[in-house]
Symmetry: C2
Subunit: 228 residues, 2 copies
């Protein structure tokens, strides 16, 4: 942490407080995620993430061009053939009563772009990885994201929160939580980087072909599934 001591202590205290608020909130409580995200946000870990993501040409280019998905016509995507990525995305959004995010203003620096890209593509990551929107799917995607972003305080804190909730409230299914976490971490490490992909140019691609290209469905994952 590049902070002086008292600032650091205050930051840590706030981070732990918002963590506990998150533990006490019901699963999927967006407001407490937002609060935790703000509390954990700092320039140091942000810089680590940008450095990590910029190692790959796709990530470097994304920070230069700051691509946004922009307006998405879900009804139109829903008319695409069922095997396409666009159809799968529309189906996911419409089926879960979700609407694509609309930016109030375009991201103006690396930090705001990273945060915006994360928010804007979260549902797409669900679709492309095949992670469900239930708690197990969220845990798998949190671990996947932790691997893909390398130094994300938020994803780690969310995983920690979920393991603590398993310990206190859901010990019966804690094994499924751990399986989901393991699965997500291994898949996130072996997949190609998803950060910076211009998803809105890929709607018509077959979903399975896209998954194969991104190394999201290799044989090894199946082997992990067989034992976890």
């Amino acid at each position: 942490m590049n902070l002086v001591n008292s600032e650091q202590q205050q930051w840590e205290m706030q981070a732990l407080e918002s963590f506990m608020a998150m533990v006490k909130a019901p699963d999927g409580d967006i407001e407490s995620v937002r609060h935790l995200s703000n509390s954990l946000s700092d320039t140091y870990s942000f810089r680590l993430m940008v450095e990590f993501l910029s190692r790959h040409p796709q990530g470097r280019q994304a920070f230069q061009e700051r691509p946004c998905i922009g307006h998405v016509n879900l009804q139109q995507l829903n008319q695409l053939p069922e095997y396409t990525f666009g159809y799968a995305y529309a189906n996911h959004m419409l089926g879960n009563g979700l609407t694509p995010l609309q930016a109030d203003q375009l991201p103006h620096d690396d930090h705001s772009f990273l945060m915006w890209h994360l928010a804007e593509t979260h549902d797409i990551w669900h679709v492309i990885t095949g992670c469900d929107t239930n708690i197990l799917g969220e845990i798998e995607l949190q671990a996947f994201s932790a691997a893909q972003f390398s130094a994300s305080r938020l994803w780690l804190a969310l995983l920690s929160k979920n393991l603590l909730k398993a310990a206190v409230h859901n010990i019966e299914i804690s094994g499924q939580y751990m399986d989901a976490l393991t699965q997500g971490w291994v898949r996130g490490k072996q997949a190609k980087p998803l950060f910076g992909i211009k998803w809105n140019t890929l709607w018509e691609m077959p979903l399975e072909q896209l998954r194969t290209q991104l190394n999201l469905n290799p044989v090894f994952t199946k082997a992990v599934e067989a034992i976890v």
Copy 2:
């Protein structure tokens, strides 16, 4: 939880308080582990663990016979050939300045036996799994133990604590924390049950042979290591 509402709330509050105390304590602070262990202890999850462990004949027999390791002469074990389990154990204990635990009184029921066996064999589990005593080794062994005990609130809470500490204090090496957790979970699931093994009858066995028998070194682990 088989508790009425207010009792449950109080139990949860105490559990979360001792969790936070553990987060604020330095790594390896035994007193806060003990406190957390006591706070999380309850008859419901204990029963789940006993049921799970008793599915295997070795576990069932252990609850009937309640075997204890008893007195161990480390100097004597240290004279065994270097390839033996006994030598590795003595070497581990002497090298880390540890002495085998001595029971004040023999365990008199399933609960006290389970707790005692856990404590008495913890160092042996380090040796047999090859998990180091540094934080990464502890995390791997916590995840391994979570898999082997199935419904342990303590191991899950310790893993949660370590991920939270990674998020707040050690984001640079959080990937290693996640690798260790994943590694431990996968190995714990694929290994044969270690609970109830009469370790004091095995000192002269070659360590590698014992690991192979217990499925602690299969090819699959190597494949995971290669990618995590």
